[in-house]
């Protein structure tokens, strides 16, 4: 079983939940930018949640399937078709043999996931099928897909597809308010700068990608202007370089960095960062760490309850 890329869209890569345990070698986890949508795509088609999927960015791909396949699309809203029929998001669907799946431009959100029953047949490297574009490895030849690429699909054991409860994803994708905890150099910034971050809207710039989202808005001036000795950085850290415009470090981030970090997006909101579009506005609000962990726990509980039994 295989699928052929007729049109790769803007950027389509193979992603699973990421590559852990190699940060000390300079290798970031990577993985799906919106891991929640990616997990749901897999669960809908009866895959383990870490099976290899395709992540499309802003403009979807066109793919031809050689054999009948069960697929699910999740993530940003866009018009998709299987041959000439409308293909709705958030449900398992059948693509006939020689069927063509066409995914359009995203109207809201930035990333669309394609889960395929059986999962993409990608040899894991360092425990993951995710594409590491900085290292040119993983996924499909370590790069974004191109026209003509042929990707294998694992033959699934005819696993049971699942269905979401009505309204299950409503409210999951409000993106304008991101919750943050304090960053390791929070003290460097003082009340005024932290106040700005937490009260002013910031616009996602065009120079944003899986490594980081550059934001534009009120400048954030640190009170302490010392040079930070390069240190490890966490996923979702909000760092403030010399131009005083914040950057959210994201899934393909460098593992270390030398800019002070004022705050950190909570783990439960990272999937929503993956759906932020250029020119979209975001605001930040602070929560304490125990609250952030409760929110993550609630999200994991909710994920178990959104499927019909």
């Amino acid at each position: 079983m295989s699928l052929r890329v007729q049109d790769p869209g803007l950027l389509t890569t193979v992603q699973d939940l990421g590559r852990y345990g190699y940060s000390h070698l300079g290798i970031s986890p990577g993985g799906a930018a919106d891991s929640l949508a990616m997990r749901i795509a897999n669960l809908l088609v009866g895959n383990p949640e870490n099976a290899a999927t395709l992540e499309m960015t802003l403009a979807g791909a066109t793919l031809e399937f050689d054999e009948e396949s069960i697929v699910a699309l999740t993530g940003g809203k866009c018009d998709c078709r299987i041959n000439s029929d409308t293909a709705p998001l958030w449900q398992a669907m059948r693509v006939p043999a020689r069927g063509i799946l066409t995914c359009g431009a995203m109207k809201t959100g930035a990333r669309l996931y394609l889960g395929i029953q059986g999962g993409l047949d990608i040899q894991p490297i360092m425990g993951s099928a995710s594409t590491n574009m900085a290292g040119h490895f993983g996924g499909f030849e370590g790069r974004g897909l191109r026209k003509g690429d042929l990707l294998g699909v694992r033959k699934g054991p005819n696993s049971r597809v699942s269905t979401l409860k009505p309204g299950a994803v409503d409210g999951l994708y409000s993106r304008e308010l991101l919750r943050v905890t304090r960053g390791p150099q929070h003290d460097w910034f003082g009340v005024e700068a932290v106040g700005k971050l937490l009260s002013c809207p910031y616009t996602v710039s065009e120079q944003s990608n899986r490594s980081g989202l550059r934001l534009k808005g009120n400048s954030i001036s640190p009170q302490v202007r010392s040079q930070l000795l390069t240190e490890g950085v966490s996923l979702g850290a909000i760092q403030v370089p010399q131009d005083e415009q914040p950057i959210i470090l994201f899934v393909d981030q460098q593992t270390t960095g030398g800019y002070p970090k004022i705050a950190n997006v909570i783990a439960a909101d990272l999937y929503r960062v993956g759906q932020l579009r250029p020119r979209e506005q975001v605001r930040f609000t602070e929560v304490a760490i125990p609250k952030a962990i409760d929110l993550l726990r609630e999200q994991e509980e909710r994920l178990k309850q959104i499927f019909q039994s």
């Binding site: 390069t230 490890g232 966490s234 909570i266």
Partner: protein, 224 residues
């Protein structure tokens, strides 16, 4: 030692505030102790000059538990980092084609080109940590004479294997990438191989020695 919450899923352990051999040995000692734990709740370790970021699953390991784990390990002493460091020889060809910045480094240091090469290849370097791109090792131990500022404008494309210096640091670009360090040579050795059991040629704590090779040796030994 300071243990700070960096996020809801990580702690930053700060062991000093300067780049020094002593701080790095403390980092390596704690890093090795954490690696030996092999705790599945810990997802990633990011050692750096004088700190380690520890990324963990907060639904299985609380910040308090993680902090006491670190304090326990640190309590066993961070000074006896055993010096059984691996010495990794790295052959370098300083041919003009591979060394677009060698002349400027020599001018800056007010020494002849061959003296830059002699100094660079006679020191022993320590891998302080890896970062920037997969396999990029930040090497401490560059002779003072060779300390030159990085390029004002980074290059968009630096070929894999480029041997570079910037400030007090030395390094080797493991993969084709952008880069702002001064290029003074190239190694034929593969620095990053994702398919190998040990994907990076260098790992934190290793010692590195650069050995000069001529162009013919470079061409004959270059990895395919």
């Amino acid at each position: 030692m300071k243990v700070i919450a960096a996020s809801d899923s990580s702690l930053l352990v700060v062991l000093g505030d300067v780049m020094s051999l002593e701080n790095n040995e403390r980092v390596m000692s704690l890093f090795c102790a954490l690696q030996r734990l092999n705790d599945p709740r810990i997802r990633n370790l990011h050692p750096a000059y004088a700190s380690i970021l520890i990324d963990f699953d907060p639904l299985r390991l609380s910040h308090e538990e993680a902090a006491s784990l670190i304090e326990h390990l640190a309590g066993q002493g961070l000074s006896q980092y055993d010096q059984a460091s691996n010495v990794v020889p790295i052959p370098v060809c300083y041919d003009t084609e591979f060394a677009p910045d060698l002349q400027e480094v020599a001018n800056h240091a007010k020494i002849p080109n061959h003296e830059v090469i002699r100094l660079h290849s006679s020191a022993t370097y320590r891998v302080h940590f890896l970062g920037f791109t997969p396999g990029f090792a930040y090497l401490g131990g560059l002779p003072d004479t060779l300390h030159v500022p990085r390029l004002a404008t980074p290059r968009k494309h630096v070929p894999a294997g480029s041997v570079a210096i910037a400030g007090s640091q030395a390094g080797i670009y493991p993969v084709d990438s952008p880069g702002g360090w001064r290029l003074i040579g190239r190694t034929p050795v593969r620095i990053f191989d994702p398919d190998a059991t040990q994907p990076t040629r260098l790992k934190p704590g290793d010692l590195v020695e650069f050995r000069e090779i001529d162009r013919a040796t470079f061409d004959a030994t270059r990895h395919r």
